[in-house]
């Protein structure tokens, strides 16, 4: 049976849209834009306090975007929490899997630390590191740890707020001391970025793991080591 919307209108609309988009992209790319912001950005990387260009953009040139992005992540978690408590979780894993997890999780945490540190000059950074921490939490959850290795709600709340907090407070303090919002003083940029990234990594990891649980952590659970 032919449903006109699904079989005629949408496909032909999409084909027309595709033509328009393709043509526009062709004109955009072959137009006289040159390097766009590449040369400007690359030229200022040495002033940014880190040598990885992407980290420079993320945490210095366009740090304000990243601040709001962390806020988006936090919003998602708060939204998830508002929808109810976490489900019953997975069954306790078999001992073989338990053993695997026991070996794997510390490795993930270690590589997260490495990824965070290396992000200043090589591929990596807070988000990748945070994702690894989150992955550790997911593994723990899969292995049957009810709270994915996260602390109790009282302590989890400061943890997930930490990244945005350090970021925002740094921005405001810098404005107060006179430089302007999120304007790092020349010598301090590297360390400020590292502090912000560390806080962000912890928050991202905790937030992603908590989001995986899909609800507020169960209250009666004994706290494990923080992710």
């Amino acid at each position: 049976m032919i449903r006109p919307l699904e079989h005629i209108v949408i496909p032909s609309g999409l084909i027309a849209l595709g033509g328009l988009l393709g043509w526009s992209l062709f004109l955009a790319i072959t137009g006289e834009t040159g390097d766009r912001l590449a040369e400007i950005a690359l030229a200022r990387v040495p002033d940014s306090g880190v040598s990885n260009p992407v980290t420079s953009v993320l945490l210095n040139f366009r740090a304000y975007d990243t601040l709001l992005e962390l806020a988006v992540l936090l919003t998602a978690l708060l939204g998830i929490w508002s929808l109810g408590a976490a489900g019953p979780g997975f069954q306790k894993a078999a001992s073989v899997l338990e053993g695997m997890v026991a070996g794997f999780v510390p490795l993930l945490i270690l590589s997260a630390g490495y990824m965070l540190w290396v992000g200043a000059y090589a591929p990596g950074g807070a988000f990748q590191a945070g994702a690894l921490l989150g992955a550790a939490g997911v593994m723990l959850a899969l292995a049957g740890h009810r709270n994915a290795g996260l602390p109790s709600e009282d302590r989890l709340r400061p943890l997930v707020a930490l990244g945005v907090f350090v970021f925002a407070i740094t921005g405001v303090l810098l404005a107060v001391v006179g430089g302007g919002f999120l304007t790092y003083p020349a010598g301090l940029a590297k360390w400020l970025i590292l502090i912000i990234e560390t806080a962000a990594t912890l928050s991202i990891g905790a937030t992603l793991a908590a989001a995986y649980l899909g609800g507020r952590p169960a209250p009666e659970h004994a706290t494990r080591e923080s992710a």
Partner: protein, 95 residues
């Protein structure tokens, strides 16, 4: 060299698009999610090719990994629900 690279690019692109098509047309939730994860990993590979290693890492860890894990849990719930409704058995007693 350039020709070889171009062929490689073409191959990657075709695989990527093909994988997207397969992902988007899968009806079975679990299969669709697994294909989506594979798609994300391939995308990470392509981005590594495009000199975006930061993004490749992030896409592999977040886009494919965590999104995939989240969706897998949802897919598992979906298939659980299907099996409960079809078999009518209480699988909570299962080991």
């Amino acid at each position: 060299m350039n020709l070889l690279l171009a062929l490689f690019d073409l191959l990657l692109t075709l695989t990527l698009v093909g994988l997207a098509v397969v992902t988007l047309t899968s009806r079975e939730p679990r299969r669709a999610v697994i294909l989506f994860i594979a798609f994300g990993l391939l995308l990470a590979l392509v981005w590594a090719r495009l000199r975006a290693p930061d993004l490749a890492l992030a896409e592999a860890a977040i886009g494919a990994g965590l999104s995939g894990a989240l969706m897998l849990a949802a897919a598992r719930r979906a298939s659980d629900r299907n099996s409960v409704s079809t078999e009518g058995s209480n699988r909570e007693d299962a080991p």
